[in-house]
């Protein structure tokens, strides 16, 4: 099996996490990972920040759900009313 450096391993992270590495490259990648604790830790932290971003933004979405500012609701309904009645003006 050919060797892979940490730099090369890092370059493959996007495709690895999406399951898009071809089998031979994946085997080399995982062989390196098995031998290199530093790369395992880096991968763990790299994947963790992705999930943390998703978690934080989902929480932001949940907090925002049903909390559209009333003046914006009115502006949207007014614009829709204008368009529905053929006046077609914007906010």
């Amino acid at each position: 099996m050919s060797k892979m450096t940490c730099r090369a391993c890092s370059d493959f992270l996007v495709d690895y996490l999406e399951g898009q590495l071809d089998p031979e490259v994946r085997a080399t990648f995982e062989f390196h990972l098995d031998k290199c604790r530093n790369c395992r830790t880096y991968l763990e932290q790299y994947a963790a920040v992705i999930r943390a971003g998703q978690c934080a933004c989902e929480r932001e979405n949940e907090q925002a759900a049903g909390a559209l500012p009333e003046e914006l609701v009115r502006a949207i309904l007014e614009a829709q009313g204008d368009e529905g009645s053929g006046r077609g003006s914007k906010k």
């Binding site: 450096t5 940490c6 730099r7 090369a8 890092s10 370059d11 992270l13 996007v14 495709d15 530093n38 790369c39 830790t41 880096y42 763990e44 932290q45 790299y46 994947a47 963790a48 920040v49 992705i50 999930r51 943390a52 971003g53 998703q54 978690c55 934080a56 933004c57 929480r59 932001e60 979405n61 907090q63 925002a64 759900a65 049903g66 909390a67 559209l68 500012p69 914006l72 609701v73 502006a75 949207i76 309904l77 614009a79 829709q80 368009e83 529905g84 914007k90 906010k91």
Partner: protein, 208 residues
Amino acid sequence: MASPTETTPTPPSASPDQALLEALRSRAPGAFEQLVRTHGGRLLAVARRLLGNEEDARDAVQETFMNAYRSIDRFEGGSLLSTWLHRIAVNVSLMKLRTRKRKPEESLDHLLPAFKDDGHFAERFESGSEPADVRLSRIEEQAAVRAAIDQLPGHYRTVLLLRDIEGIDTRDVAEQLGITANAVKLRLHRARQALRTLLAPRLGRTDR
């Protein structure tokens, strides 16, 4: 093209908004308001993240609902209403981003990991006392995570938000931004690496 094609098939049993859809198509009183009140908040959160400006975000949400109102008859119900509206909001927000004066691409090289000549990382990464994802997913850490995303240079932040947060696939992101799929992947990788560096103090010890 603010009215996307439907990409997420949903079985009929998982489509609770069928009644609302029918009410919207028949222009039933109150249906449009229900749509706005049900989905508007989340869409505003999406637009705020992508545009970083309250006024532009509100304009984007209004435009999203007007586009939806105009094209509701063409929506075939093959995806959830929320998914359809989300894609419209993302498209509208990206169109607004495109009309802004282009800024030169900021570097984030100082946030990327360094390597030795032999290809090994120059730093030694240490795990904390608990798994990184457990630590970062705590509610008290979420504000720091959001702040770190906002610290990324715009070109990188947009790609990270579209791919990792809004779940748009690489090909669509490339098309929307007018760059290649490889450029999307490279920006995404760098943005994630930079985000990891920004959050490193919360992840565990790092020795240089």
